[in-house]
Structure formats: structure tokens, C-alpha cells
């Protein structure tokens, strides 16, 4: 049966039914949102990891990362040895008024110095304040969540494979040192952990 106003009444019925249900609106800032760990809120910097290689600044599509650095000379520790140089980071700043939150710098960093944090409450009245210098970026680091566990269908992270191999090597090296039965010259060489392995 089709009586006039039927569609309207049907719509109102939905509204009335909904009125009896609990509201889904979250009252920010009284209720803070629960954000997933991957949320791109703000970029945090581990200054200690940064080698000022400039990869992030070059890859950034908005050119919003500013890096200044200089080389420090570490005098040779042995007589007649070579002096070593080391990059020292003077300035690392991200201008969040330009940033497009694309995550390319975090991906490009070969030393895991940049990380995403879900924090988002850093609005400012003055646009210049949106340029976060390195100490402020370092502070965001405390809010960075641990990466999420992956789906069972996911391929193992390559770090796990590397770590397992390193652990095996370390275990083998220990076996080599303690019992003498199986020690051969070849094994000895193979099991030496190489420099740089972790």
C-alpha cells in the first residue's frame, strides 16, 4: 500500500529508532581518539641514529626537511694513524606546515632515525612554530608506538632472518670455543662473526 507521506514516515522511523541507541559521537577533547600505531601524526627523530646523510631531505617531495651538519675530526688514536672524520648534526628541522605526511622520509632513512607517531595535537597560532627543531622532534620519539605484529600470511621480516642467522653463528662460535672435538680450521673461519653483524 502506498499512502502519501509513507516514505517520510519510514525515514522518521529510522531516526526514532536511532534515538534510543547510544550515540557514536566521541567528544574530543574530553574523549581522546584511539589511534592505530601506523597513524601518521607527527614525525619523530632519533638524533643519535642520524648520520646527516641528507637522503630524507632529498627524497622529500615538499622539501620541508632542513639539515645542517659539519664534519668533526677525531684525531688518530695510534701514532702515525689516520685522522677520522665524523658527521655532526647541527640542525634537523621539519616544517610541518609544508609536510604532506607521505612517509617517504621515514621510508628513505637507512638508519631508522625517523619514525611516525600518532600524536596530532601540535596546532599552533603562529605558522613559524610548526617548524619543529631537532630537540622537539626528539621528544616526539617518546610517543612512538611499537610496530604492529603482522598477519600470519605475511612474509617474515628480513630483520628476523638476519637476526636468526646471527644468533646461529654466535651459537656455533660458542660451540667452537668450548668443546674441541669438532673444531676444524674451515669452521673456525666460517663462524667468525663479521664486523658489522648484529
Amino acid at each position: 500500500m502506498n499512502w502519501p507521506g509513507k516514505g517520510l514516515a519510514k525515514g522518521l522511523a529510522v531516526t526514532f529508532r536511532q534515538m534510543t541507541r547510544r550515540s557514536v559521537t566521541a567528544h574530543y577533547p574530553d574523549a581522546l581518539p584511539e589511534l592505530p600505531p601506523r597513524t601518521r601524526g607527527v614525525i619523530a627523530l632519533i638524533e643519535e641514529n642520524c648520520t646527516s646523510c641528507m637522503l630524507c631531505a632529498r627524497e622529500c617531495p615538499a622539501w620541508c626537511i632542513y639539515i645542517d651538519s659539519h664534519k668533526d675530526v677525531i684525531p688518530a688514536t695510534t701514532e702515525g694513524g689516520k685522522d677520522k672524520t665524523r658527521n655532526v648534526l647541527d640542525r634537523f628541522a621539519i616544517d610541518f606546515s609544508l609536510c604532506m605526511y607521505c612517509s617517504i622520509c621515514v621510508e628513505a632513512c637507512p638508519f631508522d632515525a625517523l619514525h611516525w607517531s600518532p600524536e596530532f595535537e601540535y596546532a599552533e597560532l603562529d605558522i613559524r612554530e610548526l617548524t619543529h627543531e631537532k630537540d622537539r622532534l626528539r621528544d616526539w620519539m617518546w610517543t612512538v608506538p611499537a610496530p604492529v605484529a603482522l598477519d600470519p600470511g605475511a612474509e617474515e621480516a628480513k630483520e628476523i632472518g638476519v637476526a636468526e642467522k646471527a644468533a646461529e653463528r654466535a651459537a656455533a662460535a660458542q660451540r667452537v670455543v668450548e668443546p674441541v672435538e669438532t673444531t676444524t680450521g674451515d669452521l673456525d673461519k666460517l663462524d667468525q662473526p663479521k664486523e658489522g653483524d648484529t
Binding site: 509513507k6 531516526t15 536511532q18 557514536v24 592505530p36 601506523r38 605526511y101 600470519p152 612474509e155
Partner: protein, 406 residues
């Protein structure tokens, strides 16, 4: 007075004033019965007009209430994206590609990576293909929900927006969990996707899709049967097949006029071929071609997309362990040549014509966006309408201004 229209229905015209041109018996510019000549008026709508959701400007030439000419002025949001593509490497292009149509970010990213992958002859891992399909469909649902909420608002019905946004929020939570973004996902990479699926995400996505499906009847009941809504949309702004062919209109708008064309079936990419063979992916068309049919298409397409999402969830659960992307060289260069990749974006055909000279940036990347063609046909549809119908027609063309202006 009554006037019998071509479709046999009687139109009642109440009140005849100076601007009654076009109504029964009144010629354009005929003036008042007393013999006073009337003048056409140019009415400027926009660029800042709430009903244009963006900065689209329309110059309407009016004869009384009747629109005799419409001139869409586009370009207020022109960002020169094609030129910017030329100085960005392929990963940086994805950042820009998901911004021209901010409601179909994932689908727009997809076109770029599909083009580059085709140039490289790259094989994408199966899990990535199915996950991409699923996310593209979730993105389609998000897009359609936006218009299912915003179109009634333009016609004065506020309530459906809240229901549509609740559903959007449900799905956005899932999208945010996997990609980290709510609108600009930036989750596609050449050769696959950025990161693997978080543990338990597939179940949560499945729950979200089911929850949305279970609540879609609410949106349907709220607005589709509404007499006021129907009176304002049925038979208004009918788009003919000839106009669709002439202007290259695509997507749900074209299918609402009976054009049976959907790239997901007609030029399958991702996993769509299999979904079509399984009968999950269906192309829905309607015949009327009016505002109501266009709006109805959205609801039907949401149902189909949710079916596809469910099929993808089943598939992702049963797939073998494997990678989600291909390891890329440090510097990615597309080989010399050209290709055209097009995808069925939520709003219509989105195409990228990529010309590479073997550099790490494209030599030229032409963007064919759906909204541009869909809005180009607007003058043809609007001519002859009354001003009150302008918003109904404009809103039902489903466009994003960023997608028009690029």
C-alpha cells in the same frame, strides 16, 4: 494551468510572473503579457558556494527562473599536477596522485603504479593484488557514502549525512589501521603495497564491511522513499546516452543512463577478472538517467563493492604465505616508451598516460580524470532547468573539484 509533458505526466504551473519563460505558452524573453521586455540575467554561482562543494564557479544566464545557458568556470584549484609529475620520481608521484581526487585516493594511486608496473613488466605478488582490490573497493564505498550523505544535504535533508559518516568512520578506522592515513593513504608502491597487513586486520575489516552492510538499509529508508526527495530528483536533469558518448561521461553517472560500461569488467585489472568469472563483480545499470537514478546507483554500487570486499577477505585468508611487494632498486627508472593505464575510479574512468624516456621521472604524465568530463556535460543538462533544480543536477553529477582542476 496544466501542461502535459512529453512523458505524459501533467505538470502544474502555479504562479506566472515576469520570468515564466519556457513554461507553457510563454516564449523565452517574451516578457510580461503587458508587453514589457525582459532581460536575461547573468547569475554568478561560486566559486565559494556551499552547494558546489569546492571552488567550482558557474555562470548562469537566466531568463527568469529558467536557465538558458550555463558556463562552468574551472581552474580555481588548478595545481599544475601534470607538470609536477614531471619533476617527481615514481614514489613521489603517488603522493600527488592521491590528492587530485581526495575521495578516491587509493584508486588514483593505483593507476600510477599500474602504469609503471606495466612499463617495467613487473609481476605483483598475489597477496598484494587481492589486498589492492579489497582496498580499492573499500575506497569506493567510502567515496559513495560521502555522496550518499552530501547529496541529500544539498537538497535540504541533513540527517542522512550523519548515518553516512558513521559508516565512513567505521571503514576509515580500518583503512587507517592498515595504511596510517584517513584520506591520503599513500599505501601503494610500485610492485605492491607499502607494508604488510597487521595481525587481525582482515577480521576487523570483514567485521567493518559487515557492519556497514547491515546498516545500509537505514540510509535507504531515510532518503530513498522520501516524497520530497523524489519530487526534487525524479525526472530532473536527465542525461541522454548521446550526451554521455559525446562528452565521455563515465562511472556511476553513465551507468545510471543505461551505459553498460565498467572497466572492472571490460578491461579487467587487479583481480577483477576472477571476480567477474565468479559472479561477485556485477555491473549495475539503470535506465532513467535522472538525478534519482544517479543517486540510486551509489547505493547499488556500495552493495556490489561490499560483496567484492567479502570475496577478497575470503581469498586473503586462504592465500599462501608470501610477500606484499617486490623489492625495488634504489633508483627506479621506467624504460623508454609509453603506456596508458586506466582504472574504474569511484567517480568514473581515471587514466594516466605515461611517457618515459628512461629517466627516474616521467617525461610526461597525462591525467584523465573522471570529474572533468562529468562536469563538462553540465551545461547541456542544466540548460532548460529552473534555478531550483540547478543544485539537484549539479550535486548528482558527483564530482570533486580537485579532480576537475587537477
Amino acid at each position: 494551468m496544466t501542461d502535459v509533458a512529453a512523458d505524459g505526466r501533467e505538470h502544474v504551473v502555479v504562479g506566472i510572473g515576469d520570468g515564466a519563460a519556457g513554461f507553457g505558452g510563454h516564449e523565452r524573453g517574451g516578457g510580461t503579457p503587458g508587453g514589457l521586455a525582459t532581460q536575461d540575467m547573468v547569475l554568478n554561482i561560486g566559486p565559494q558556494h556551499p552547494a558546489t562543494h569546492g571552488v567550482l564557479r558557474l555562470k548562469l544566464t537566466l531568463d527568469g527562473e529558467r536557465i538558458v545557458d550555463c558556463d562552468p568556470v574551472v581552474g580555481y584549484m588548478h595545481r599544475g599536477v601534470e607538470k609536477l609529475f614531471e619533476v617527481r620520481d615514481y614514489r613521489q608521484i603517488i603522493v600527488l596522485a592521491n590528492r587530485h581526487d581526495w575521495l578516491s585516493a587509493f584508486s588514483s594511486e593505483l593507476g600510477v603504479v599500474l602504469a609503471v608496473e606495466r612499463m617495467l613488466g613487473m609481476e605483483v605478488p598475489t597477496r598484494a593484488v587481492w589486498l589492492r582490490t579489497m582496498l580499492a573497493e573499500l575506497n569506493r564505498v567510502l567515496n559513495h557514502l560521502m555522496f550518499l550523505g552530501s547529496y541529500p544535504i544539498e537538497l535540504g535533508a541533513i540527517t542522512p549525512m550523519f548515518y553516512a559518516f558513521r559508516e565512513r568512520e567505521t571503514l576509515q578506522a580500518v583503512m587507517e589501521e592498515i595504511s596510517g592515513g584517513r584520506m591520503h593513504y599513500m599505501f601503494n608502491r610500485v610492485g605492491g603495497l607499502k607494508e604488510d597487513i597487521p595481525a587481525g586486520w582482515v577480521d576487523r575489516a570483514d567485521d567493518a564491511a559487515r557492519a556497514v552492510r547491515s546498516r545500509m538499509p537505514q540510509i535507504e529508508d531515510l532518503i530513498f522513499g522520501n516524497e520530497i526527495f523524489q519530487a526534487r530528483t525524479r525526472g530532473v536533469g536527465v542525461l541522454s546516452r548521446e550526451l554521455i558518448d559525446a562528452y565521455g561521461v563515465s562511472g556511476p553517472i553513465a551507468r545510471a543512463s543505461g551505459v553498460d560500461f565498467d572497466l572492472r569488467r571490460d578491461d579487467p585489472y587487479l583481480a577483477y577478472q576472477e571476480l567477474v568469472d565468479d559472479g561477485v563483480m556485477q555491473v549495475i545499470t539503470q535506465e532513467e538517467g535522472d538525478c534519482y537514478a544517479r543517486f540510486g546507483m551509489l547505493l547499488d554500487q556500495v552493495q556490489v563493492s561490499l560483496d567484492i570486499v567479502e570475496a577478497c577477505v575470503d581469498r586473503l585468508r586462504s592465500l599462501d604465505r608470501g610477500p606484499i611487494n617486490v623489492r625495488l632498486p634504489k633508483i627506479l627508472k621506467a624504460p623508454e616508451g609509453a603506456t596508458y593505464a586506466w582504472t574504474e575510479n569511484p567517480l568514473g574512468i581515471n587514466g594516466y598516460y605515461l611517457v618515459s624516456r628512461g629517466e627516474k621521472t616521467p617525461w610526461r604524465m597525462k591525467l584523465r580524470s573522471a570529474s572533468f568530463n562529468n562536469i563538462a556535460v553540465l551545461p547541456e543538462v542544466l540548460t532548460g532547468c529552473v534555478v531550483a533544480d540547478m543544485v539537484a543536477v549539479l550535486g548528482s553529477m558527483f564530482f570533486v573539484v580537485g579532480d576537475i582542476d587537477k
